[in-house]
Subunit: 392 residues, 2 copies
């Protein structure tokens, strides 16, 4: 079935259990779907734009109220919506990083943080993760000292992922921020895998910026995200424009250059707004998600030779698995080679695994019901047994 | 009717003739609406992302093909989709403008172009529009000479709006680009009001960059837009990442830092793709749009005291009108004051005028049928007559 010329109507989350590592938290709520239909047209949220003509002041639909609510929910002072977490990184890097400045990242940082630093002319300095693949306050202190020795000055800012994209491990951002602040280094909290998934309290964590990805973790259409900060940093971050036209002497009011003026608009913003009440509620029940996830990881671990590469027990529902000594051994002899594994899952109505991957792979059970988790667990065990692998 | 808690389901283009100056070209096509429903979920277009793992290489849905088609349609060599025209301006300014560099804009440039220059540290130098509110090649040459006298060097780039947001006037970009190129100044063509509205041929215009707004003029959800360039500039503009991690020695493949990695994704991109065949077709029939627009402007001009502030005859369907000596005179005595005008239009099923505006205002008839244009023309005349204004 096509939805437009040459474009197949997507039916993934409607027809399968989707365990794609990046898609699970961005599946729309029913309210967001309805909002998307109502606000699809380009400048749909601008019907009632009045002076001072900035998107985050619009009260119908309640955009202004939503901005305040999101800031409060994250326990930060001010928030703006942005076209994806990466645009939050970009805005912060562009404001705080000058050419040649050392910037603290981690050995598990996402590539978009590197690109933001690159574009600002900064030099990436990674805090190494330890053997448990965890970034620690001690590791942070050592790295800062190393940067000071090398550059004669501390890094200008630190980008720290609370839960990283590689292992889904949870790092001690609170401890890291404490160390960074001893050197007056502001901390950006990358909540791409947490904001909208589990409770995030910016002030309690002691961070200066909170960035979230709405299309990854807030049940919203892409591209969407949030950048929140403290009253102290808001003045710099959300400074208003100062440029003037040399002929017309025009000024541009309260538009914010780091945000490129009006921020996230239209269908993406309204999708975020419609999902927000549900997102606020769901983060309170993250324990339930972990419990469902445990059912699946335990089933995987029951297949002899399978290893969970992520920290264990799990603190997040996105997990990295190694099946070199289990499912991959089947691939060596199977007529479908590595594709047998994703095929066997697809046949059981499970999707989201990279086709052909049988060595190291990631999956995310966020949003599955207990029944679906049990079904998933059973599917993995069944595929193992059918292919002659030992299950304990 | 609410579409989600606290969010009224928007019904504007469904129930009224909408002459909002910025909304007319961004109304979704039926195909885009269907695509939006099918691709609402966050990372919806990433189901079939394979190596080299960059969005514009995905072939299902046909994103790679779409990128090539858009570049060809604009007669440029390479195109990327971006979250709004402003993100195109930002990427170009960030690549070509260094702190203190003079940048050529015009006295009718949009504020987002100023913000892009501001963020890159550039100095805005406006080419003055002439008395007819037109930016000309001669004016451009004079301004470049003035900048050279002031700064000892020519501007590093020129941002030129083909059709400006203030008057909807059409400026001689081809002539301006010719002049700019004599000084080796690359030219960015701002097609926010043209790309998707009328035929745009980048090579024929002789410009180096073409930026379009999809949520303004390509019947797409927000935020969306396009940045296209020549083979010569693509190397700089779409350079691939060079940053590395100092601990992991990670590199980030063919991701493009000016684009912040993967470009426009999800619902916005698929909306653009679904509307594209219709957009390609509609630009061929712009004369019909101008003819419908003429019906309305002539009706407005028949109301004594009304003036069209835009160039006349019109070359675009977005027009600036002065009604100080006509509709505003009624406002002085009407019990609803200025609101009588938008009210009277709303009662007739016409929307998109700023409530209360009776002095100077803009409207856009893009996409109206001939019958709707005639209805609109009649509505303006009728409101004039009912309020005792002379109609010739």
């Amino acid at each position: 079935m096509k939805c437009a010329a040459g474009i197949e109507a997507r039916q993934v989350d409607e027809v399968a259990i989707n365990i794609d590592p990046i898609q699970a938290g961005g599946r729309l709520t029913a309210d967001a779907m309805k909002a998307v239909i109502a606000y699809g047209d380009g400048y749909s949220v601008c019907d009632n734009c009045r002076k001072p003509n900035r998107l985050d002041y619009i009260s119908k639909p309640p955009i202004a109220e939503f901005h305040k609510a999101v800031a409060g929910w994250l326990n930060m002072d001010t928030a703006r919506m942005v076209p994806g977490a990466r645009r939050g990184f970009q805005a912060v890097a562009h404001t705080y990083v000058r050419k040649g400045d050392p910037v603290l990242l981690t050995s598990l940082s996402h590539y978009t943080e590197f690109l933001a630093v690159e574009e600002a002319g900064g030099v990436a300095r990674e805090i190494p993760a330890n053997e448990q693949k965890l970034v620690t306050p001690d590791g942070t202190a050592q790295k800062i000292e190393e940067v000071i020795r090398d550059s004669g000055r501390p890094p200008v800012i630190a980008f720290i992922d609370h839960v990283d994209y590689q292992y889904g491990n949870m790092h001690d951002v609170k401890g890291i921020a404490k160390v960074a602040h001893q050197y007056d280094i502001p901390v950006l909290y990358n909540g791409a895998y947490t904001v909208g998934i589990l409770p995030v309290n910016g002030k309690d964590l002691g961070v200066d910026f909170v960035v979230g990805s709405a299309h990854k973790s807030m049940a919203s259409p892409a591209p969407s995200g949030v950048l929140a900060t403290t009253a102290e940093h808001a003045k710099e971050m959300f400074r208003t424009t100062a440029i003037t036209g040399d002929v017309t002497n025009r000024k541009f009011g309260i538009k914010e250059p780091a945000m490129m003026g009006c921020t996230l608009m239209g269908v993406t913003l309204v999708g975020m707004m419609a999902s927000f009440p549900h997102v606020k509620e769901r983060v309170k029940h993250f324990e339930r998600e972990l419990e469902n996830h445990r059912i699946v990881t335990e089933a995987l671990l029951s297949v002899e030779g399978t290893e969970i590469l992520s920290e264990y027990p799990r603190k997040h529902t996105m997990t990295r698995v190694e099946t070199i000594a289990s499912f991959d051994r089947v691939a060596e002899v199977h007529k479908k080679r590595g594709y047998y594994f994703s095929s066997a899952l697809e046949e059981r109505g499970v999707t989201g695994l990279i086709p052909g991957a049988t060595k190291v792979w990631k999956f995310n059970t966020y949003g599955t019901t207990r029944k679906q988790a049990e079904y998933l667990a059973h599917a993995f065990v069944e595929i193992a047994r059918e292919n002659g692998l030992k299950v304990s």
